[in-house]
Each structure stands twice: as C-alpha cells, then as structure tokens.
C-alpha cells in the first residue's frame, strides 16, 4: 500500500501551491486546483480503504493494522523516539473515507459559496492544510504523531475561523478556539509524557510487559489524554469555543466543526480503546458521565438559540457526547458483552459526519439566500428553496432518529449500549434523543415553515412602509446543491451499511441487529419530540409557545445565555488571570525587580558623589588629608606595637 503516502502528500502539495502561488492564480484556477487535488485524494482514500478491507481478516479473524510507512523522525534518547508514518486500522480507514468525502463536498460547495470573496485562494489553501492535518491525525502510527497533527488541525481551524479577519467577532472566536483547545492540549501533552515515560514508547500498542509496569499510572495518563480530546471535541466545560467558531465561513463549520475535527477526541478515545478497557475501565466510565452531562447541557441550550448555526453547533456538541457516552459505557472488548458501544460510537461518528455536514451546508445555503444567521429573517423558505428544504428535512429526520435514515441505526446501537450499561443511563440518553428531535424540528419549522419574513417585508414595501425592496430568497447554484444531494443520498443509505462487519471492539465481525424494545421506544420518543415541535412552531410561534416562554422566562433566558458558561470563563481569564496575575507580575517586574537594580545604580552613584569632594584640586586640603592620614597610621602602628 505504498501509494497511501499520496493521501498525505497531495493535500500538502495543494496547500503549498496555493499558499505560495495562490495570489498569482485566478479564483477559478485556485478553486479548481484545490478541488481536483482533493478529488484525487478522495479516490485514493476510497481505494485504500477498499484495499484494506478487501485484504481480509488475518488468522485471528480481525483486520490487522497495516503500516506502509514508519520512520524515526526525532530520536529522544533512551529508546524513545517520535515516529512518523501511516498506519491503517479499521477505524482509520473509515475516517479516511469520512474526511475525504465531507472535505470534497465542502470543496465543491465552496466554489459557489465563497465565490468572489476576498482571499479565495487563501481559503482553499487553508482547506488543503486542514485536510492534510486531519488525514495525518487519523493515520498516525503513534500518540505523538497524533499530537503533532492534532496541533496542526488546531491551527488550521484557527486560521479558518479567523478567515474574515477584519471582523472583530471572527478574530475573537479564532483566538478563543485556539487558546481553549491549547489549554486542553496541555493535559494531553502531560498525559503523553507520563505514558511515554512509563511504557517506554509512544506507540498505541506497547508490549504487554511495558503495560503491566505502567498499570498504576495508566488511568491518570489516559484521563489526561481524554481531557485533550475533550477540548477538541467540545465537551463541557471546554465546549465554549465551538459555538463561537461558527463565525468562520459556513462550509468550514461543516467540515471542521461538525464532521471531522471535533470528532478527533472521540477518535482518540477509540484509538486507545484497548488500553482503556484493559487498564482504566473506571476512566472510561468517567468519560461516559462527562459525555452524558454534556449531551444534556448542549441539547437544552440548543432548544432556545435563535442563530441557526448556533443551534447546529450545540446539536453537534450533544451528538459528539453521544459518541463519547457510547465509548464510555463499554465494559469489555467483546461486542456481545459490553463492547457494543465501540462499534455504535464509530457508526454514529460516520453517519453524524454525513448528516451534520449536510445540515451545515444546508444552513449555508439558507444564509447565502437570506443573508443572515437569525431565525427571525427566515420562515416559509420551503417554497423558495425546494432542494435545500428536502435535503435539510432528510438530515433532520436522520438526526432525530427516524428510520430508515442513517441516524436511526447508529443511535439505536448507542442507546442499546447505554441500556446494557445501566437502566438510568439508557433512559437518560433516550430522553436526550427525544430532545434532539424536538430542537431539530423546531429549527426546521422556524426556517422552512411559518410566516415568511420575505413576504412580510414585501408587503410592507408595497404598502410603502420601507424604502428598499427586500431581497428575494433564491435556491443555491448547482455547485452548492450537488453536495447537498450527494450527502442526502448517503444519509438515506448509510444506515444499511453492515458496519459491524468492518468495525467492532475486538475486531471480529459483528452483525448489527435491531433491538426492538430500544428501537420502538426511541422512535416513539423521537415522534413525540417532533410532534411537540410541530405543535409549537409549525405556524411560527404559536400561542402555546408564547405561554411557555412567559412561564419559563428565567430558565429560558439562562439557557439562551448558555447558562453563563462563557461569562464564567471570561471571569477566570480576564479578571483573575489577566488582571490579578499577569498585570501584577508585569508591575512587579518593572517596579520591584527592575527598580532594585536601578536603586543599586543610584546608590553607587550617590557614593561616588559622596567621596568626590575629597578630590577638590585644592593643595591645602590634600596636604591636610595627607598629614592627618599619616598621623592616624602612625598612631595605629604605635598603639599596636
């Protein structure tokens, strides 16, 4: 599989070309170069994945890890070294497919969405950089290589969020995203240091002896690494950067902040799954509880947001938490006994990437049409944007868990795994699934149903109340609708992929079977959620909605402000770290330490001034000093002798 190096080489080449020569290219040339290169990468990735799975299982009945490339990049003495290479495992093969698919869709979509934007070439350069880093992350042969690409992914995300660099919100958001994830990465790094020192390697699969020796510290190391993953995957309370990251161009949100980068944390836990199961099962359960809480928090907040991209952002947080929970509830590596969650998590990662990418791209088309993110500017769009409407609806049904769309199958497995773990966990997650259906359909109705903002405005314009004629919403161009259609098709069909045949917790084939009890419950709950949303929002904000809003004003307001988490963080960073630590230190440095040295110089100077009069050039005083000095010495000598 030597050709697999192209998977990394081509996007890097694309980045370098566009970054160095992009300014001399036309927009069209730059866009097409980027997209074609990515098309090639996608083809190679599909081929690699096919090749990998076709090669079949080894004699243990699992898909063995294949490492086409691995070389020592940085020797670190005492047997440790950072290696770079390409490693293929079932999940990395799956990730290759997910990343390149969504990335390709985003590349095509952006040809239309970003048309005429200043910095178009730069945009495609950054997309290539991101794709390169993300692919490097999933094929990493060891934890340190993963960390390296992890950082690169972070910086690509920073650059893309801040793409509109003249917009203050975008600047702030990009900075926040980078610093929050960097903070989490600090824990990741410490985790890696512990892991590397005690196991003597950065490999994902250290020898049995090394692991036994490190057994006491592994739970700590793994927990620290998970915190790193929680930063990237926006787990509470490190989630605060993700909603703000929506300041980036919408296709970027689809690619990075919905489908690929934010699942890096999940991927990390999955990659280390065997270590978790064997050496730190309790840590895994901590992950489950953290995930469950985040899922609830994000779902509640999503119910009341007015910016459609923010709703999607919180829904992403909530869905990623589902994946984390699924991994966390595993108690063994046999998929029939406690290991179902692993497969479910990866399955959900796959389907979620597709339908969430679709939702974001759909949202992008809507924003493109109405020039706003706010729900009040929408309403009744189904007439004007039929393709977007249908595809968006498909995605909503998928995320709500309605069969036969893909989300149903993956979520069903997750819920089954949760029930297997414990009844309360199962019930809890089922309720959140119902909440998901509610807020997604709230969003759907607010955008596509109810009173049309355009028509209202048009009426006012005709009545002469406003000056400007409102802009008529229009369906997006083909470059944008084509990716929507493709992703919608995948969303319809992906549920029928025999996913367990490829990926399962111990690598052996596992046949997915629907758990009737769980499936029926979750469908009922989803339908209930949808029904509630329909009742409340199908005709704009109905009377019930207003009544509910009035009675629950306080909690709704709190949820709208995301329970003041951002303010809490801001308090810590601005008030405590900046004002109470950094400022005083800077003051201390100038006014205490520096002043001490200045004082030293001054004192020396003073001493000089003090003895200077002795040298006044007057012969009489010199002779007096000389005589008295001589006398003194004589006296002393006499006294001593």
């Amino acid at each position: 599989m030597e050709y697999s190096i192209l998977i990394l080489a081509l996007p890097l080449l694309g980045f370098l070309t566009l970054a160095l020569a992009g300014n001399r290219m036309s927009h069209r040339a730059a866009g097409i170069t980027g997209t074609l290169l990515l098309l090639a990468v996608t083809a190679i990735s599909y081929f690699t994945a096919a090749d990998y799975f076709m090669a079949g299982r080894d004699m243990n009945g699992v898909f063995a890890e294949t490492v086409p490339y691995n070389f020592k990049w940085l020797p670190l003495g005492e047997g440790l070294s950072i290696d770079m290479g390409i490693s293929l495992t079932p999940i990395s093969a799956m990730m290759l497919v997910v990343i390149t698919t969504v990335s390709l869709m985003v590349h095509i979509y952006s040809l239309g969405y970003m048309k005429g934007e200043r910095g178009f070439q730069r945009y495609y350069a950054f997309l290539s950089l991101f794709t390169f880093s993300m692919l490097g992350l999933v094929v990493a042969t060891n934890i340190f290589q993963m960390y390296i690409f992890w950082e690169l992914v972070g910086v690509s995300s920073y650059l893309l969020i801040g793409f509109y660099y003249t917009k203050p919100e975008a600047i702030a958001a990009s900075k926040k995203a980078f610093i929050v994830t960097r903070f989490a990465d600090l824990f990741f790094l410490i985790g890696i240091l512990i892991y590397g020192y005690y196991t003597g390697t950065f490999s994902f699969t250290p020898s049995e002896a090394a692991l036994t020796g490190a057994a006491t510290v592994l739970p700590t190391a793994l927990l620290l690494m998970f915190i790193g993953g929680a930063g990237k995957s926006a787990m509470f309370p490190l989630h605060i950067w993700l909603p703000d990251a929506m300041e980036g161009p919408t296709p970027v949100s689809a690619l990075i902040h919905a489908a690929t980068m934010v699942v890096a944390g999940v991927f990390l836990v999955a990659r280390l799954f065997n270590l978790f199961i064997d050496y730190a099962p309790e840590t895994l359960h901590i992950i489950a509880y953290a995930g469950a809480f985040t899922a609830l928090y994000a779902a509640v907040v999503a119910c009341v947001q007015t910016d459609i991209k923010r709703v999607l952002a919180f829904s992403t947080i909530s869905q990623i938490s589902f994946m984390m929970v699924a991994l966390g509830v595993c108690t063994g590596s046999d998929p029939h006994a406690g290991g179902l969650g692993y497969m479910a998590s990866m399955f959900h990662l796959f389907t979620h990437a597709m339908f969430k990418g679709l939702l974001f791209l759909g949202a992008g088309a809507i924003i493109h049409a109405v020039h706003s993110n706010e729900k009040c500017r929408m309403g009744g769009l189904r007439k004007y944007m039929p393709i977007t409407h249908i595809t968006f609806l498909i995605a909503c049904l998928a995320i709500a868990g309605i069969p036969p769309f893909s989300g149903f199958f993956s979520k069903d497995e997750i819920l089954a795994a949760c029930y297997e773990f414990s009844l309360p966990m199962g019930i809890f997650m089922s309720l959140i699934a119902a909440l998901t259906a509610f807020y997604m359909f709230r969003l759907y109705y607010l955008i596509f149903w109810g009173k049309s903002y355009y028509e209202t405005e048009l009426a006012r314009y005709r009545a002469g109340e406003i000056e400007a004629e409102p802009h008529k919403p229009h369906e997006a161009p083909l470059t944008m609708t084509l990716p929507l259609i493709i992703l919608a098709a995948i969303t319809c069909l992906a549920g029928f992929i025999p996913f367990g045949e490829f990926i399962s917790s111990n690598g052996e084939a596992y046949t997915i079977h629907l758990n009737t009890k769980v499936a029926v419950t979750s469908i009922m709950l989803a339908l209930a959620g949808i029904a509630l949303a329909t009742a409340m929002y199908i005709k704009g904000e109905s009377r019930i909605t207003v009544a509910i809003n009035r009675t629950l004003r306080k909690p709704i307001e709190a949820a709208y402000h995301r329970f003041y988490m951002d303010e809490a963080w801001l308090f810590v960073t601005k008030k405590i770290i900046f004002n109470c630590i950094s400022r005083p230190i800077a003051w201390f440095d100038r006014n205490v330490i520096d002043a001490t040295f200045d004082k030293l110089a001054k004192i020396t100077h003073k001493c000089g001034t003090f003895v200077r009069p002795l040298q006044d050039g007057n012969v009489q005083s010199y002779s007096i000093f000389f005589l008295s000095g001589a006398l003194l010495i004589i006296l002393i000598l006499l006294y001593l002798i």
Binding site: K72, W73, L74, P75, L76, G77, E78, L80, I82, F144, I148, F149, E151, L152, V155, Y158, G162, Y165, T166, P168, I171, A172, S174, K175, F178, I179, R182, F183, D185, L186, L189, I190, L193, I194, G196, Y197, I577, F578, I581, S582, R583, I585, A586, D589, I593, D594, F597, D598, A601
Partner: protein, 492 residues
C-alpha cells in the same frame, strides 16, 4: 589545515576593509561578502563535522589547536569545537548574515555601525571556538562592549539609559564570571586554563565548587536572562536597533546558556548536582513569569523581550535537568529561539520603521496594509507558540520529554509548571496578532504605508526557511550535538 581560525580572520579582515571603505556601497559589499563567507564556512564546518563523527572521530573536541600567549598564567589561544559549538557557530552565521540585510538601509553612520557590529560578531565567533577559560572570557567581553555603543548611538527611545543599564548589568555578570573563572583556575591547581584539561583533572574541592558554581552560573545566567537578573532585556531590546536586537536575542543570549553548560556545569560538577535545584526553581520562574508578563505588555518589543526571557529560561531549565535528551533539547531551543526571535525582531523593526510606533493599541489591520510583513509576523508567531513544523515545537517537546524522564516529584512538578508556558505563549502571541494585524485599518496615516522592500523580504524569507527547516527535519541536530552533550554530561 585547521579552519577554525578563519572564523576570526574573516571578521578581522572585514573590520579592516570596513575601515577603508569610502562609501555605503563599499560598506555593504564588505558586509555581504564577509557574512556570506562566514555562512558558507559554518555550513561547511557543520557538514564536515558530521562526516568526521560518522567516520568514527570520537574525541570530545575536533579541530583542536593551541597557541600559548601568556605563559605565566598558562593562558593559551586554544580552540576546538564539539557539536554544540558547531551548532552555535551555524546559528551565529545565519543571524549575522540576515542581520546585515535587516540593517541595509540603516542611517546614519552606516560604516561605524557595521564596524561595531562586526566586532560584536568577532567576539561571538571567538567565544564559541575557544576552549581556554581566559580567551573565552576575553571574547565574551569583546562581544558585550560594542552593544553599549550600538544601542546608545543607533538606538531609539530612552537609548542612553537602556544602553547603560544593559552594559552595567552584563558587566556585573562579568564580574561574577571573572571571580568564577579565577576560582576554577586556582581551585584546580593553577596549572592550566584549558577547559578540558581542568575537567579531566576534576580536582576542584567540593567546598570551593559550592562558592564558585553559583558565581559562574549567575555570571552567565545574567546574559541568559535568568530571573531575577533579566531586567536589562526588555529595556535593552526595546531601544536597540533592529539588527542589534536580532543579534542580541538571537546569539548573545545564547552565550549565556552555552557558558552555563560548558563552564559552570562541566567544570564544577559536584556543585552543579547539589545546587541545581535552586537554579531549577529560578529558571522555572523565568519560564512562567516571563510568559505571564508578556501577556499584559503593550509594546511589541517588550512582549518579545519577555517572551525571550521565557524561552531562554527554558534553555537553562533544560540543561539543569542533566539528561541527554533535555540537554539536546536545550541546544535545539537555543537554535530555535535564536532564529525565531531574530525573525520576530526583524519584523518588529520593519513594522516600526513604517508606523513609528510599537504600541499595539495604536495599530490595527496591518494585514491589509502590509500583507507580506503581516504574514511573516503570523508565521513567526505560530513558530513561537510551538506549532509543529517549526523549530519551537521540536525544541520544546525534546526538553519536556527529557525533563520528564528525571524520576522524582520535584522535577516532575517543575516540568509540568514549565509546560504551562505553551498555553500562555499562545495567549500573548494571538493577542498581538489579533490586535495589530487583523481588523480594519483605522489609522489613515498608516493606509499609505508600503509593504516590505526586497532586502526585508530576503531577511524574512531566509529566517522563515531556517525555522521551518529545523522544525521539519530536526534529526540531524541530535546527531550533531549528541556526542558533545554526552561527554559533558558524563563529567557531571
């Protein structure tokens, strides 16, 4: 033939040629020729050195030679290099070369400026090739004195004050250092000034080591911005002209780390082992304290100066860990910090040359006005905050992995504290980038400013390429410095 003396002969020839040069053209021609020759020479030396090592040359020092020049005190002009010095020579050549281009348009008294500049580099080269305590000290002083004039005459702002402060503090360090050197010389029996011979004898009594180790370490530490002796750095850098800042932060501050390792720790091993903890605490403070102070600064050069305190603190921190990996990391960090800071100061100088302010509150939207410089600044910033692919990451990771392998709670704890600097660094870098480069330009006067000229572009591109090259292909450095670090550590 031994090529090391050429590192001294070229600057001397340059000094003479500069003396004779009649106009700015000739001055520039001399500087470009000389610094290019030095660069070629050090690249050649690096390659030759690696080849010799691969061919099995296992002596501590290669290219050794010695000429006695003051018998009564056993002072000799002894030269020789190991991998560490080779790396430092390479770094110096790159900075001297790019610094020449960074001060291409410097006015007035260009010739005089370059005279002092060359004298400074002469001192630096001499320092890195010497293996004799006294000769080394002499070159050390040669490198420091020109700094006073370079800042005092060609600087900006409160230049006299800063130049005086910098010189006095470094001279204070030198005084400690001189005591340290004499202590080592007499403590070891007063028969030789050669570092390696002293080390081989290992005859300095422990109680004497306890006195002279702190003196020597602090003496060099002042130049390496050791807390609390770092306060010359912000003022000095803020007032220095561009290329002097580059050379100072890029190379001179490395003299400190190099000296601490090569002299203080190598020659006074017992004390180094026993007293390391004091300095580990001080350097840990440097690392975090420097970064935290940088967060609330508003002057670009102050931010970078404090960032240097933090990064150079990491160099001293790493050598005190006394593991091979950490010390290799320290050398990497010296190279990396030298290149990155030179790049930063070059860019700040270029921006300042246009806007005439370094106050980050007064600038906005420079990305639109001077895209080349702004992109350069973003790259420098990302390199500084340790992005993989640039040198900073490699150096920091090597240090952290190396430091973490010292298995006791104290070392672990300080390593973790030092690790937090990677987050704080991100904060102050992104704060500046967000403030001055992004956004809409709001000052009308700035809108008509021009982007980089060819010489500025050349400087920036050279340094960016070096930073990236070191970040992408770092493996050769550990081949280069491994044996040198190993032999010093084996003595500790």
């Amino acid at each position: 033939m031994n090529i090391l003396p050429v590192f001294i002969i070229i600057p001397i020839a340059m000094l003479l040629a500069l003396w004779c040069s009649r106009n700015i053209r000739q001055t520039r021609a001399v500087m470009v020729t000389g610094s290019t020759l030095l660069l070629i020479l050090s690249v050649y030396l690096t390659i030759d050195f690696i080849q010799l090592r691969n061919a099995g040359e296992s002596a501590d020092m290669l290219y050794t030679a010695s000429w006695s020049w003051y018998e009564p005190l056993n002072i000799a002009f002894s030269i020789g290099v190991d991998g560490i010095s080779v790396a430092m020579l390479l770094l110096s050549s790159i900075i001297v070369f790019t610094g020449t281009f960074a001060s291409w348009r410097l006015q007035p008294m260009t010739k005089e400026f370059f005279l002092w500049y060359t004298l400074l580099s002469l001192g630096v080269y001499g320092f890195f090739i010497s293996t004799d305590l006294f000769t080394m000290f002499m070159f050390y002083e040669t490198a420091l004195i020109p700094m006073y004039l370079l800042i005092g005459v060609w600087g900006s702002g409160r230049k006299e004050y800063s130049a005086m402060k910098l010189t006095l503090m470094l001279m204070g360090g030198s005084a400690f250092l001189l005591m340290g050197i004499l202590g080592i010389y007499f403590g070891s029996g007063a028969t030789t000034m050669n570092i390696h011979e002293i080390a081989a004898m290992n005859a300095i009594p422990t109680n004497i080591q306890y006195i002279f180790f702190p003196l020597t370490f602090i003496g060099f530490g002042v130049l390496g911005a050791l807390f609390p002796f770092h306060t010359w750095s912000p003022d000095g850098h803020a007032c220095a002209p561009t290329s002097v800042s580059m050379l100072h932060a890029g190379v001179l501050m490395k003299l400190g780390g190099y000296g601490c390792f090569r002299i203080a720790m190598y020659l006074l091993p017992q004390a180094a082992n026993d007293l390391a903890w004091i300095f580990i605490i001080l350097t840990t403070i440097s690392v975090v304290y420097g970064a935290l102070s940088a967060v609330s600064q508003t002057d670009l050069k102050y931010i970078n100066a404090y960032s240097s305190v933090s990064h150079c603190g990491l160099v001293l921190f790493a050598i005190l860990m006394m593991t091979k990996t950490a010390c290799t990391g320290a050398i990497l960090q010296m190279l990396s910090h030298g290149l990155m800071t030179a790049l930063f100061f070059a860019l700040i100088g270029m921006i300042y040359g246009r806007t005439h302010t370094r106050d980050i509150r007064k600038m906005r939207g420079l990305m639109k006005i001077m895209p080349f410089l702004a992109v350069g600044y973003v790259i420098a910033g990302l390199a500084n905050l340790g992005l993989p692919g640039f040198s900073g990451f490699v150096a920091e990771m090597t240090i952290f992995v190396g430091a973490f392998s010292v298995n006791d709670t104290f070392h672990r704890a300080v390593t973790i504290i030092a690790c937090t600097s990677i987050v704080i660094t991100a904060v102050y870098i992104l704060r500046v980038v967000g403030r001055i480069l992004y956004g809409e330009p709001d000052n009308d006067e700035f809108k008509k400013l021009s982007d980089a000229t060819w010489d500025e572009k050349f400087t920036v591109i050279c340094l960016v390429v070096c930073v990236a090259a070191l970040g992408i292909a770092p493996m050769w450095v550990s081949d280069l410095v491994g044996s040198g670090v190993g032999s010093i550590l084996s003595n500790i």
